[in-house]
Every structure is written in structure tokens, then in C-alpha cells.
């Protein structure tokens, strides 16, 4: 019984930690959320894929709400060469992050 409780506690802990990896799947709502103009779903999906593949080559992903919408483009710019992001890929990553943040607000 004790072992089961420990296992349940470990799984619960991992699931709680899992919520830190909040990189939500792309929705139609996100595509419409960017102020001023609509971004297509395919671009946002590409941005999410690049975010979870390229950025974790060097570091873990910070929660997207750690930084403001205004700060994110500069943050991505500063590491886009290191992450081998082409300009269109960089734009897709920024678009995804801003869409997530805009949907939260």
C-alpha cells in the first residue's frame, strides 16, 4: 500500500510539473487572436513545432507568460541564429508565442 501511495505521489508530481510545459496546441481562436491581422493556423503550428524542437536544444522552455508580448520578438531574435531559425521560421515562432499570450488575455 505504501509503495502504491509513493507511486501515486510521484505520478501526481510529474503531472503537476507537466503543467509547466504549457505549450498549448494551436486552435482557430489563436489564429484570430493576434491583434490587427489574422495568422494562419499552419504558421502557428509550424511555430509551435519549431519552439519545442529548436529551443530545447540548448535550454528548457520557460513559461510563455514569463515575458511580455513586447519582449518576446527580441528574445527570439537573440537566439534565432543559435537555433538555426530562418527568418520565416523565426516569425512563425514569434507568431505562435504572441497568439498564445493573446488568447490568455
Amino acid at each position: 500500500m505504501k509503495k502504491i501511495l509513493i507511486l501515486v505521489a510521484v505520478i501526481a508530481g510529474l503531472l503537476a510539473c507537466e503543467s509547466v510545459n504549457y505549450v498549448p496546441p494551436v486552435t482557430q481562436q489563436m489564429a484570430a487572436a493576434k491583434k490587427g491581422r489574422r495568422v494562419d493556423v499552419a504558421t502557428l503550428r509550424e511555430g509551435r513545432t519549431l519552439l519545442v524542437h529548436r529551443c530545447i536544444e540548448c535550454h528548457t522552455l520557460p513559461p510563455l507568460w514569463h515575458y511580455s508580448i513586447e519582449d518576446w520578438p527580441e528574445i527570439v531574435d537573440s537566439m534565432s541564429h543559435r537555433a538555426s531559425l530562418k527568418p520565416a521560421e523565426r516569425n512563425a515562432v514569434v507568431a505562435y508565442i504572441i497568439a498564445v499570450r493573446a488568447t490568455e488575455q
Partner: protein, 254 residues
Amino acid sequence: MIQTGSIKNLVLPILLLIWPTTAAHAGARHFTYIYEAVTSAPGSVDVENWVTWSRTTNPQRVDEVDFRHEFEFGITDKFQASVYVADWLYAANAEHSGFTYSDSAVELIYNLTNPVVDPLGLAIYEEIRAGDRVFELESKVIAQKDLGPLILAYNATLEAIWEGTGLQDRQGEFQQALGASYEISQRVSVGVEMLHEFVFPEWRDNQKIRNFFIGPNVSFRHRNWFVTATALAQATDTPDEADFQMRTIFGIGF
């Protein structure tokens, strides 16, 4: 038998063949004895220099420093290739000391799933190593999970080694490695690594050789370079195995 000279002659053409026209940087390592499931971005290039110092005292004291010079290439989003241009070593015991070229190798890693969005990040790994007196095949399954700032990684490795004059000595080894790395800031991670080895001389388990190593690691990254170091102590008491070993990997993109 593998001819070392022919391998050396092949290294430069291979490097030139797969060298991308727009070189960019590959990623940083959080561990030195454990591989992570994430592969390098397509078109990226990294040079990594490994230095491993080990001290063995049973049955006699031997200090050894191993060096590795590795070029790592991102081929596709899920596939990377590396060339170990040269593995060489300096060894010193009571009677003699000196430098020796050991081998060169090719390493291939294919990523299957992502450690952030999938339940478990997985990759498969194959390495072919050849030198004057050694030929080795090494296969791994790499598992990784990112939980916020915490990276958990596990490797299961099977090695088949032929060594000695005429490559007549055979040995098998199964290794499990488990590590955790916690990112305490954007540039610094600290963690722990553990190795559990099962050695099978002549592919037999008569001697029941088991080795267990454990120790801390630290990783620092900045711009286009990183350095990661791990110190491991042997928790078992196996003769001819290092009591203490320390590995440092310095990587730079150019």
C-alpha cells in the same frame, strides 16, 4: 581487419561532403555521460572537445586522460550525424607513460518523439568505432522528459567490442545511465548522473562484473558555446575500473 590509415583518409572527404553551406550552431549538452533525445537543427554544425580524466588504483595506480574531437552535424529536423575525428589518450602508471591514438568513429542519432509535447522523448543511436586494435558497435535507446526546468534522461546501451591483436578479444557490455539536470538560470544547469554497467568478457557472465558510478554535473552555456562537466565516483569495487573519473565537454558553433 579495419585499417586505421584508410579511416583517417576518409574523414576529411566525409566532413567536406556533409558540411553545409550555411553553417549555424547546434545545441548545448546538459550531461556528459548521457545523451539527450533532441537532435541538432538541420544545417547546424558544432565542434565538441571531450576530455576525460580517470584514476584507477586497483590493482595498480593508473591515470588516464582521454581526448575526443567531434564534429556534429544537423542533417534533418530529426536526424544528426557526428564524426569523432580522433580519440586519443595519455596514460601513466608506475612503469611508463605516453600518448596513444585510439580510434575514430561515426555516430548517428534519429529522434522519434519530443520530450516536451509527447509523453516521453525518444531517440535511437548507433555508433561505429574503429582503430588500430579496436572495433566497436554501440547501440542506444535514449529517453528524455522535460518537466519545466528539469530534464530527466535515460540511456540503455549495448556495446559489442573486438580488441587486441587481430581483434581476437571479444566483450559485450550493457549499460544503463540515468541523469537529472535542473536549470537554475538561463545559462547554468546542475544535476546528477548515474551509470550502471554489466560487462560480459567473451560475451559470458561468469565473472558477474557490475560497475556503478554516480556523481554531480554542471553545465554553462553562453552565445555559441557551452561547457559541461561531470565527476563520477565508483560505488562498486571492480578491479581495473576507474575509482574516479571526470569528463568535460566544451562545444562551440562556428
